[in-house]
Every structure is written in structure tokens, then in C-alpha cells.
Symmetry: C2
Subunit: 196 residues, 2 copies
């Protein structure tokens, strides 16, 4: 067997990519709500049934991958951090280099990111993909900090970290927002005890 997949899987990947590109092109041109899945299927030259066979999560999932890349990337960021660096610091730096927080991206990806951030349905689905990593991230943090993985504090921390892209992504200065949020998570809410 050759290292490249067989013709079958190659065609499958081609079809999936054609759908992804068609969707991104049409969304950019007419807006998310201005495009029907029928148009996308047409543009990619497949039937509607085929479209849904490739993208079981529906219309919003068309321009995303299946999310496994995110999960791997996250757990790696936690486990492979340099010595002496805290888990939160590692997550902060990794996130800052990614997603909505840097403009150091090919223009094509920037356009895609802007489309996602400015389209509620896509932003929400992006959040879903992040949240789907909650368990994996919680496990990674539990391992690294020697705590119990069922500790609610860990689950909450994982959730709150994964919520950051949606929370900070729409801010005028996303990177500053990201840093402010990580500061909150590291040190807590700095309130003077109460009113007089």
C-alpha cells in the first residue's frame, strides 16, 4: 500500500474540500443567510444528500474541520510547555498566536476569520467546537497539576479558557482582551470587600 491514500479516499477528501471552498466563496459573496445548501451543493457539483453525508453537523460546519486538530493542539500546548511555565501561561501564549488574536495569517485565513466573527451562526458553531475540547483540556490540566480530573474547579477553568475566543474575539483589541481575561483567571476578581 502506498503512503498516499487510495483513489477512493482521495476523491472523498477532494469532495469535502470542494464543499468547503464553495461554501466559503458563497458565504463571503452573499452572506451566510443569503446562501442555501442547495446552492453550495450545486457549486461543488454534488447532490444535497452528498453534502450532508460529508458534513453531518449541517450548514454551519461546512467551512470548519471536524475539530480534532483543535483538541490535539490544545493538549499539546499544555503538555509540551517549557519548564517553569504555568499551565495558564502556556495556554495564554498559545492562544495569543492563533485564531482571532493575531493578524500574522495568510489573507485568505484572515477573511475566513472575519466572516466567522461577524456571522452569529458561525461564531456560535466555532464556540461549540472549542467547548467540545473541554473534557480533553480538563484531563490535560488535571494531569499536569496533579489534581482529580472530576474536580469542578478544573472543569470550570477549562470551560472558561475555551470561552475566551468568543468572548474576546469581537473586542476592538482582541489580544488585550485575551490578556485581561487570563489575568482574571489567574488572580481572581480583585474586589474591595463590599460597600460601606
Amino acid at each position: 500500500m502506498p503512503t498516499t491514500m487510495g483513489r477512493r479516499e482521495r476523491k472523498k477528501a477532494q469532495t469535502r474540500q470542494a464543499l468547503s471552498e464553495a461554501a466559503l466563496r458563497l458565504f463571503s459573496e452573499h452572506g451566510y443567510d443569503g446562501v442555501t445548501v442547495a446552492q453550495i451543493a450545486d457549486e461543488a457539483d454534488v447532490s444535497i444528500a452528498t453534502l450532508f453525508a460529508h458534513v453531518p453537523d449541517g450548514k454551519e460546519a461546512l467551512i470548519f474541520d471536524d475539530g480534532s486538530e483543535r483538541r490535539i493542539w490544545l493538549t499539546a500546548a499544555v503538555h509540551d510547555r517549557p519548564p517553569g511555565q504555568s499551565v495558564l501561561e502556556a495556554l495564554r501564549r498559545s492562544m495569543a498566536a492563533r485564531g482571532p488574536f493575531t493578524d500574522d495569517l495568510p489573507p485568505e485565513l484572515r477573511h475566513k476569520r472575519d466572516l466567522i466573527v461577524n456571522t452569529p451562526a458561525l461564531r456560535e458553531y466555532s464556540r461549540k467546537l472549542w467547548i467540545a475540547c473541554e473534557e480533553a483540556l480538563a484531563e490535560a490540566i488535571a494531569t499536569e497539576s496533579g489534581r482529580d480530573p472530576s474536580d469542578m474547579t478544573i472543569r470550570a477553568l477549562a470551560r472558561y479558557v475555551l470561552e475566551i475566543p468568543e468572548l474576546a474575539g469581537t473586542e476592538p483589541d482582541p489580544l488585550a482582551a485575551l490578556n485581561a481575561i487570563f489575568d482574571l483567571l489567574e488572580h481572581g476578581w480583585p474586589e474591595s470587600p463590599g460597600k460601606t
Copy 2:
């Protein structure tokens, strides 16, 4: 004008309540996905068009109110807290007495709460209602703590607090989970600096 509304608004409220009750009854009996909006409209003896006129947010919104009650309740919890009590402490106590965190409720409301917690679509919509209060809560916190309302730290705090019902609601001991999360928000993530 009498203190009670006119017949018109009374009938409107009646219809809305009939829809709400019909939906709750049918959801409880056949599950959320086992009921169509047509059945609900039928049970409430109105047309489908009328159903959507009363509940513009769609099927999931049928058993919820419009969310304004939540908003009022939240801002009151912050502004009317006893002297010497911190904002987070006030929110912690208020939330603990409500929603998924106490069983001190009429059995009818308990059933409704269980239905919501166990039905993904309803749980998600409940979260939406909470998040819709983010801006109001952020403003309240900003006022009480003398900070700038556009401070990202405040927005994040508000968001994280409003995320608690969904985060802790499914835990075996929701109240303990709620307290653990509030501890995290108050004191931050207590991590030893890093690995060797």
C-alpha cells in the same frame, strides 16, 4: 383604566400561557423531539401562525418567559446586597437559592427544571437567556465597583457568572459545583508556578 388589563391583553396572556402549558405537558410526555409545533398549537387550540406570533424565538422558547425577569433579578441581587457584602458573594447567594441549585421549589417547577437540564436544546436556550443579561450585569458590576463598564475584566466576569447555571447544573451536586466555581472566580486558579 383599571389595574387589570383590558380583555384584549388578558386574552393574549391566556393564549401565551396555554401555549406554554401545552408545550410543557407534551414535552414531558413525549420528549422535546417527540413533539411537533403543530401538535402544540393544536393542544393550545391556536393556529401555527399564532404560535409563532407569540413565541418569535421558536420552539425552544415556548416554555420560557422573555428573560426580562432574569435581568431584573440579577441587577437587583447586585445593587440591593447587604452592606459589607461583595458583589460576587451576593451573586453566589442569589444563584444558590434559585434555578438548578435548590430543591426548595414546587414540584411542578422541579419537573420543568429537570426537563430543561436533560434536554440539550432547552439547556442551550436557557443559557442564551442568561447570556442575554451579560450587558446588564456588567453595567451593574461596573457601577458597584467604580470601574469602567467597557473594562474587559468586567465583561468576562459577568459572562463567567452567567455561564454557571449551565456549567454546574448538570453536576451531581450542583450547589457544591456552584461554590467551587465562585471560589475560582474570587481567588483565581491556584497553581504552583510550573513544572520542574
